[in-house]
């Protein structure tokens, strides 16, 4: 299992609406697996998941990622008008560059916001938002 799956009493943030392609990603996350896609035709990896490979137009396959990455860039959200996030400021929104290459957006938690920097090593964990749907998050690598 790549990601530790954690539970919260109540998930109040937006919830992904699983769709034909994306549903596998969210349900795998609920099982602690972080999925990306790899194209068997050209070898290109991509995230977010799509019905086609953006490089060659082929049909991509799922691949389990290591759950390790580094921070490519980030911001600290200090003003937020949306109720569901307002109480959490300041918090970090980052682009994580996965060991496998693709980047994904995520929150970096478990450390002071001022300690976050570009290049910092992070690892994924997941939080269950609804039964069978978990959201990947990131924290500093031990």
């Amino acid at each position: 299992m790549t990601m530790d799956v954690r539970h919260v009493d109540e998930w109040t943030k937006p919830v992904p609406a699983p769709e034909p392609v994306s549903s596998e990603f969210w349900s795998a996350a609920a099982e602690g697996r972080l999925l990306i896609q790899r194209c068997p035709s050209c070898g290109s990896r991509q995230f977010y998941p799509r019905a086609l490979c953006t490089a060659c137009g082929g049909v991509p396959e799922w691949e389990e990622a290591s759950g390790r990455g580094t921070i490519h860039t980030f911001t600290v959200i200090r003003q937020q008008g949306a109720k569901t996030f307002r109480d959490e400021v300041p918090y970090v929104v980052a682009m994580i560059e996965l060991e496998e290459g693709p980047r994904m957006m995520g929150n970096v938690t478990g450390c002071p916001v001022d300690s976050v920097s570009i290049g910092m090593a992070v690892r994924a964990y997941a939080v269950e938002a609804e039964p069978g749907v978990a959201i990947p998050f990131w924290e500093p690598s031990p």
């Binding site: 937006p14 919830v15 977010y48 200090r78 003003q79 682009m95 994904m104 929150n107």
Partner: protein, 392 residues
């Protein structure tokens, strides 16, 4: 027998702004209508002579087909291209081709938004596109993380600082220069002079962007009338020639931005300049989408006004200021004057005003070539338009 060929070079012959920056008496449709009336009056064109209609909307009641009906336009050319705030630069690209091809003779472009009166100052920090708790499509891979519009641009600014040593003070210089022009515009939302210290000491909204790195939220609309150089001979205003127009897209959602330090400006800028047969040195003023200070910096580098990564020191030399070699956003820009959601049309209007030498106190001396460059979405879709005072 020699037949004279009509000169179908595309030109802007009319411009109009609706009431701004606060106009609680107008809804979005009202902004479209008022701006259209003013642009047609400016152009000396009867509404009945308009046979092309162009607009776009951010999901409100002002759809393009709805507005064509509301305004009563019998069009044989219509375009509702939506690339975010840069839509209107893409519209000019398309309209120029349509006029050259003879698809129509006179095109009206309109935009209107009551964003401030309707939504308050929420666009950048939470009021954008979160109607439902369940999020579908590609945004579902961003929505759970609480990013904001400001946060998206902040991630680009952070990466640019990391790679090139750009500083908050460099970015602040952009806001300071634009504010100086806002002081010359009686309608601008904020007119009092500011300093670099004021910007970097204003509160952080999303690191490293401060409040004064961010555009204002206002009401406002604009309209542009385009036709051929042939027809412009009979019209009252000096024609503004479309010398080049090109667009490009690198991504839509911010998490898909391939390189957080460069945009599609690096492709469409040189293309538009080549069409116009100019280089950056030939440009007298730039009207750039200043959603955030970092936006301007990235567009400057992309269009080749300085090398990639050298935008910070370039800006710090004061070139963008009043009296500099490349005055920026002479109407006070989105940073200080007017930003009602999609600013692209205001870039065209101010560029035309400068090229008509009707800029008043903010007139750029000997203004012969202006560049309008729009950035739409999250630095996603860039449209570059080169406009000139002289027939190409």
């Amino acid at each position: 027998m020699v037949t004279a060929v009509a000169d179908r070079t595309p030109v802007i012959v009319g411009i109009g702004l609706s009431d701004y920056p606060k106009a609680p008496h107008l809804d979005s449709i009202g902004h479209h209508a008022q701006a259209a009336q003013r642009a047609l009056a400016d152009a000396g064109v009867a509404k009945a002579d308009v046979d092309g209609y162009v607009s776009t909307a951010m999901g409100g009641d002002d759809t393009t087909v709805g507005m064509a009906e509301y305004l009563g336009i019998d069009h044989r050319y219509i375009d509702s291209t939506m690339t975010g705030g840069s839509s209107f630069e893409f519209h000019v690209q398309h309209a120029a081709a349509a006029l050259r091809e003879g698809l129509c003779e006179t095109i009206l472009v309109t935009y209107g938004s009551d964003f401030l009166s309707r939504m308050g100052r929420t666009l950048g920090t939470g009021g954008f596109g979160r109607a439902s708790r369940h999020i579908g499509g590609p945004p579902q891979f961003e929505a759970p993380y609480g990013n904001t519009l400001v946060g998206a641009y902040a991630m680009a600014a952070r990466r640019h600082m990391h790679e090139y040593g750009t500083t908050p003070e460099h970015l602040a210089e952009i806001a300071v220069g634009v504010r100086e022009y806002a002081g010359l515009n009686p309608n601008a939302l904020y007119r009092d002079p500011i300093t670099v210290d004021d910007v970097v000491n204003s509160r952080l909204v999303a690191d490293p962007l401060h409040k004064l790195d961010c555009c204002v939220i206002s009401d406002g609309g604009g309209a542009v009338v385009m036709t051929t150089a042939e027809r412009a001979r009979d019209l009252p205003q000096p024609p503004v020639y479309v010398l080049g127009a090109a667009g490009g897209q690198s991504h839509w959602n911010i998490s898909q931005m391939p390189d957080f330090t460069s945009t599609a400006a690096a492709r469409c800028g040189p293309e538009a300049f080549a069409q116009a047969g100019i280089t950056p040195d030939d440009v007298d003023t730039i009207q750039f989408y200043d959603s955030f200070t970092i936006t301007v910096l990235l567009l400057l580098e992309g269009l080749g006004f300085c090398k990639q990564g050298e935008g910070g020191p370039f800006v710090a030399e004061g070139h963008l200021r009043r009296g500099g070699k490349l005055p920026l956003n002479t109407d006070g820009g989105g940073l200080s004057s007017c930003h009602s959601g999609m600013r692209g049309i205001f870039l065209l209007i101010e560029a035309a005003r400068q090229l008509r030498h009707q800029g008043g106190a903010s007139q750029v001396p000997d203004c012969n070539i202006a560049v309008a460059c729009g950035s739409g979405g999250w630095l996603s879709c860039i449209g570059t338009v080169v406009l000139g005072r002289e027939h190409p």
